[in-house]
Symmetry: C2
Subunit: 136 residues, 2 copies
DNA sequence: TATAAGCTTTAAGTTAACTTTAAGGTCAAG
DNA sequence: CTTGACCTTAAAGTTAACTTAAAGCTTATA
C-alpha cells in the first residue's frame, strides 16, 4: 500500500502521515525500488491509535510516553499520563461550565434591556460587561 | 498613570498592553512629553473588559464586533456573537464529556489488567486502545 | 506519447495570543 | 554621576499540529 491509499484508508491527508513519520510517531516506512513509501496493515493500526489518542486530547508529544515500545511498558507512567489528562479534562469542564453560566446570564440580561427598548450604546454595553466581570 | 502602573493594576504584562494597542483593541495612548504612554481609569476599564471577554472564550478578533463603538450598537450582531460562542461552548462541553467517559473506561480497564497481573507489552496496550477506538 | 495523478524532498507558511530581543532613551535615588 | 528601574521601537521568536509551496521524478491511462 502506498501513502495515498493509506491516507484514504485512515482518513488523513498524506502530508499528515509524512509529518507523523518525521515526528517519530510512525516508524520510517519501507520504500519501493523507486523510493515510494510502502505500508502494511500495521501502519493503519498505528495511525488509528494516534487518531484515537489525539481524539482524547493527548498532545502528539505525549504519545511516545503513552505507547512506549520495547520490553515492559511502564504502567505507572501510562497511568500518570491518563491521570494528567483526566485532570486537564476536568479542569476544562469546570472552566467551560462557568463560561456557559456567564454567557447565559449575559445573553439574558442583554435581551431584557433590548426588549425594554434600550437603544444600547457602546458605553452601556461596557457597563454591563463590567458589571458581569465583577460579578464573576 | 504610565504603562507599568496600568499593567500592575489590571494584572497584565506591559507587553500585552502594547500588543492590544497594536491590534487596535486599545485606543492609541496619549503620550507624555518624552513619549511615554499615559493612561487614565478608562484604560483600566477597557482592559478589564478585554480580560472578561477573553475569559468567556472570545477571540481577540471577536472583540471589535462585541464592543462595537459609535452610534447605536448592532444588537443583532452582538446577540449573534453571544449565540455563536454559546454554541461553541456547548460543543466543547459535549466533546469533553465524551472524552472524559473514554478516559475513565480506559483507565479502569487498564487498572484491571494491571491488577490481574498482566505484564502489558506495547502490543497489548495497542490492542486495548484499538478496542476502545472502535467502541467509540 | 502526452497528460494527469501520485509520489519525493526540504523549507517555509499558518493561527492565536503573546513574549522576547535588541538597541537605546529617561528618571529617581544615593 | 552612576546605577538600576522603567520606558521606547520594530522585529523576530514561541507553541501545536499541520499545511503549502517549489521543483522534480514515476506511473497509469487514453
Amino acid at each position: 500500500m502506498r501513502i495515498g491509499q493509506l491516507a484514504e484508508t485512515v482518513g488523513l491527508p498524506t502530508s499528515t502521515i509524512r509529518f507523523y513519520e518525521q515526528k517519530g510517531l510512525m516508524p520510517a516506512a519501507d520504500r519501493t525500488a523507486k523510493g515510494y513509501r510502502k505500508y502494511t496493515a500495521e501502519a493503519v493500526e498505528r495511525l488509528k491509535m494516534i487518531k484515537f489518542a489525539t481524539s482524547l486530547g493527548f498532545a502528539l508529544d505525549d504519545l511516545p510516553g503513552l505507547f512506549a515500545s520495547g520490553e515492559g511498558l511502564d504502567h505507572e507512567q501510562v497511568m500518570a499520563h491518563l491521570q494528567d489528562r483526566t485532570a486537564e479534562i476536568n479542569h476544562l469542564l469546570n472552566t467551560l461550565t462557568r463560561q456557559k453560566t456567564q454567557m447565559e446570564y449575559l445573553t439574558q440580561r442583554l435581551g431584557e434591556l433590548w426588549r425594554a427598548g434600550h437603544c444600547m450604546s457602546a458605553c452601556e454595553l461596557d457597563g454591563l460587561l463590567s458589571e458581569l466581570s465583577t460579578t464573576k
